[in-house]
Symmetry: C2
Subunit: 345 residues, 2 copies
Amino acid sequence: MSGDTLCTLGSQSVKLRREVYINASASIVGKKEGEGPLGLLFDMVGEDDMFGCETWEEAESSLQKDAVYMALGKAGKKPEDMRYIFAGDLLGQSIATSFGIMNYGIPLLGVYGACSTCGEALTLGAMAVSGGFAENVVCVTSSHFASAEKEFRFPLGYGSQRPLSATWTVTGSGAFVLGREKEEAALARVTGMTVGKIVDFGLKDSLNMGACMAPAAASTIAAHFIDYNSQPEDYDKIVTGDLGSVGQRILLDLLRDKGYDISDRHMDCGLEIFDADSQDTHAGGSGCGCSAVTLSAYILKQLAQKNWKKVLFVPTGALLSKTSFNEGQTVPGIAHAVVLEEVLA
Amino acid sequence: MSGDTLCTLGSQSVKLRREVYINASASIVGKKEGEGPLGLLFDMVGEDDMFGCETWEEAESSLQKDAVYMALGKAGKKPEDMRYIFAGDLLGQSIATSFGIMNYGIPLLGVYGACSTCGEALTLGAMAVSGGFAENVVCVTSSHFASAEKEFRFPLGYGSQRPLSATWTVTGSGAFVLGREKEEAALARVTGMTVGKIVDFGLKDSLNMGACMAPAAASTIAAHFIDYNSQPEDYDKIVTGDLGSVGQRILLDLLRDKGYDISDRHMDCGLEIFDADSQDTHAGGSGCGCSAVTLSAYILKQLAQKNWKKVLFVPTGALLSKTSFNEGQTVPGIAHAVVLEEVLA
């Protein structure tokens, strides 16, 4: 009978007894992301960042709607085939999600983990499927450069200058159809996860989020190695979400202090999605959409094509709001790790 | 082997094969809530609504911290016994949660469903335990009158008048320790759940949230009856979160139209927590904390004392933000139902 045995590992990890398939995924991005190094890999690139909408928030909602539509289409599924949707974004009260996915009529479990939300959605979606609570679910997250700047920092119209440690919020959304059964075009398997703790090093600079999130990424990755009794060499790639160039250096240093050298296999979605030299994005890309679209457009394809066999996917989030920042609070971080493996024949 | 069979029902429900125990719970509320009809039932009542903090947001964080502390204490558990914490609140980027529960070091899965978040946290927490992904988890949600007014409507200093359809956000937090094994003081069992869809009747009045949420409550409750092939008479109480007096009337009408009369067993936490005549709270209480503290202080005690055998607990949420409201969007609703049953000897 189900649930009679635990599938927990160590202090914060799970190794799924029944693995879950990512049967399809889709990505949609803005113009700037389309001009970046991964540009040709995305399923859809907007001509401008309004996507035919009246406001940035509506534009972000349309990204989630389109990503889910494309992912369902690739999976050959209808909305009513999805028992639950696990969805989130960066905006206050997750309005990009509410207004984006409402019309599908799929029961919604809203998640929030800042830019780590893609990892959280996949974690909970995989638990729901693996545990027998759903046959198929869809996971989706999004971010939008303009709605995020307005939400967290300054209205774009101010023309504020940004320090070199700042990241550029990715305009984009990635959606993933998870299922109990392997479909023909299955891209990868979710085989386990390590849920992150909040880690606060006391940093307060919302324009250096890489530094705020790196300690959380190091904490989760080290906990994963310990819980799984594994080593960096067990993974072809260890992929963080949006640490950028500043956060990456800190992560590698922190993990070296803990005895792990991941420098030869670390990849950061924020460093892949933009060309730092030509695109003026400073430390790299960020946002709930950054890791989601990079996972869909690039990482899952590497797994599907068997170029990589096993990836530790670790989206990273900075837990702040305008209010907490203005009240002088720190910017703690969180990161959730998901183990992705190639589909076996 | 676990997960080999689905435990899904109908289109959006789950009937847990392995039931989950609510082994302990705790509630903390503000001064006004302490003066209400349930005042003597809460575990802790603040002398004022700052709870010794500098800001309302910090005060709300302290509510979550204290509720978790008390619930763990009653359960005889330590933070490290909890594999995950499912937590959320109403503030942008869930900062009451981040800064409230950070120091426990429990791996965090942040959830957002507006005032329905308590139902969502219990749903996901029960799935995690039932599915074998955790032995024990803790679920916590909070709201605070002053932080919510600032977040959604007007700064309190404006002294804005409120229409009679408005609800009063409850200052409070409720925490619940869920476990695979029945502890001696176990309060109730979680046996199933119905995850809600977003329902939008096109209403735009953020000062009449009962009307905005009632259609979602009706949708989830009706879906629950259909999925479970059950009737209102199968439950001793059907408890919504914070519809208030306006929303309650709409809910009862909508369900009558669908062929269900729940009027003799419907209870709304928002109507229980304040005395409408003497406390000037207009349509009733609301917020993520309203259903959570009422569940902990009142509903679970009725189940523990065997006064009620089976309750359908349906927290209700209004999916809006300041931004979506100012941009002229509607206020859709969502509601998640959790089946709570008495503990069997």
